[in-house]
């Protein structure tokens, strides 16, 4: 979370298609700076009936058809005490679903207490699903790291390494070969439900540019077309580029499985030594394909090792036959 998330930010969320919240503000514009601190929402049925214990007032208050009908009944019978009491709490905001309109008295009370009243044309259950998804995304633990995120054969590959080791150059060649760029240089990681990491660029306005030494800043979507970019992608493999160190023993077989823990999520890690004559983009492509094979349940290195073991076993058996004449 960069700054506090306000109701105004909620209205400004640029979500598309099946994620869009279709919100508009009816009343209480002064309260649009109120901060939403919780990713959960509250249905204020109990509150309206006068039960204020454990009232989660700091959450978004969702008014569905039932609540609206109850409000109407309260207004008609002029029982406004509970509504007044509710507005004495600092509610995050009230949202009416199904394009429902609250009564005039309710709106007046909201205006005086500066509580934002929003409306959406979605049904309650649909809206609930969408807003929980949107808010859990916003409140997810996040971290900005130095690296390049590309999608290679459908696998989200995060390339890390020291400055100048050739991350951007490798990514550029991958894009040239038809793969996609998600973010160059600083990648925002979000832990989604603590299960997997979603990576995206830091800033949508500045996204999909790269800095290449000698070329300067280039626009990837203009140079390679919209097919070469993507907004976000799950991180499924980390490739750590490091300058070749003859002393460090590199994995020569591929049966050791390294992982790196980021935001409490384990991601497969490959340490890739960089040296003149090693074509890193091709190696990354192969690593991504190998990762896909592993996801399908085929481990090249392990399978190879198993075959070698079987072969040795066969040879043993043969030797037994040819050396030991007593066997018959």
């Amino acid at each position: 979370m960069m700054n506090d998330f306000t109701v105004l930010d909620l209205l400004n969320l640029d979500l598309k298609d099946h994620n869009s919240l279709n919100l508009k503000c009816l009343e209480g514009r002064k309260g649009l700076t109120r901060i939403i601190t919780d990713s959960e929402i509250n249905r204020p049925g109990l509150t309206l009936s006068g039960f204020f214990e454990e009232f989660a007032y700091h959450r978004i208050q969702l008014f569905g058809k039932g609540e609206v009908a109850y409000l109407k009944m309260l207004e008609e019978t002029k029982k406004m005490e509970n509504i007044k009491k509710m507005f004495s709490y600092k509610l995050a905001c009230c949202i009416f679903t199904n394009s429902a309109l609250p009564g005039e008295k309710f709106l007046k009370l909201a205006k005086t207490s500066e509580c934002p009243i929003l409306q959406t044309d979605l049904s309650s259950s649909d809206f609930e699903l969408r807003i929980i998804r949107a808010l859990s995304d916003i409140f997810a633990p996040r971290k900005t790291i130095h690296g390049v995120l590309v999608e290679v054969f459908g696998i989200g590959v995060l390339i890390t390494g020291r400055s100048g080791v050739g991350k951007s150059e490798s990514a550029l060649e991958l894009i040239e070969r038809g793969h996609r760029l998600i973010a160059d240089d600083s990648v925002v990681l979000r832990s989604v439900n603590g299960n997997f990491l979603m990576g995206s660029g830091t800033n949508e306005m500045l996204g999909h540019h790269m800095e290449i030494r000698g070329l300067g800043i280039i626009n990837i979507s203009h140079l390679f077309g919209v097919g070469s970019i993507r907004d976000k992608k799950q991180i499924q493999l980390i490739i750590d580029l490091e300058t070749w160190n003859p002393e460090s023993g590199y994995d020569r077989i591929g049966t050791d499985e390294l992982t790196k823990k980021m935001l409490d999520v384990e991601v497969p890690l490959i340490k890739m030594p960089v040296k003149a004559g090693r074509n890193i983009p091709i190696l990354i492509e192969v690593a991504a394909m190998n990762e896909r094979l592993k996801k399908l349940g085929y481990y090249s290195a392990q399978e190879f090792d198993n075959n070698v073991l079987k072969w040795l076993e066969n040879k043993n058996a043969r030797n037994l036959y040819s050396n030991n004449t007593d066997i018959f």
Partner: protein, 88 residues
């Protein structure tokens, strides 16, 4: 580790040219140098990182260096901010 707070004093903020200056200066040192703004911590040796910080006029950043020459590195970066990157 050495750390100092700086304020952006040039009106235009940290756009491409100041970023290039920071990167050029940072690359003269062996230490790892970082700039921090809000919850974003980026490598001061990368141009795109610095630009995407979006540091505007009067924002406060942390300059952090870690390594053999951390002291001189932090001072060199701070000096760039103090001189407004030779801008107004």
């Amino acid at each position: 580790m050495k750390q100092k707070t700086v304020t952006v004093k040039n009106r235009a903020g940290i756009h491409a040219r100041p970023s290039a200056l920071i990167v050029k200066t940072a690359n003269e040192f062996d230490s790892d140098i970082f700039l921090e703004l809000d919850d974003m911590k980026i490598n001061a040796k990368s141009i795109m990182g610095i630009i995407t910080l979006g540091a505007n006029y009067k924002s406060n950043l942390q300059v952090i260096a870690d390594g053999k020459d951390e002291e001189t590195a932090v001072n060199a970066i701070v000096k760039l901010f103090e001189n407004r990157f030779e801008e107004v």
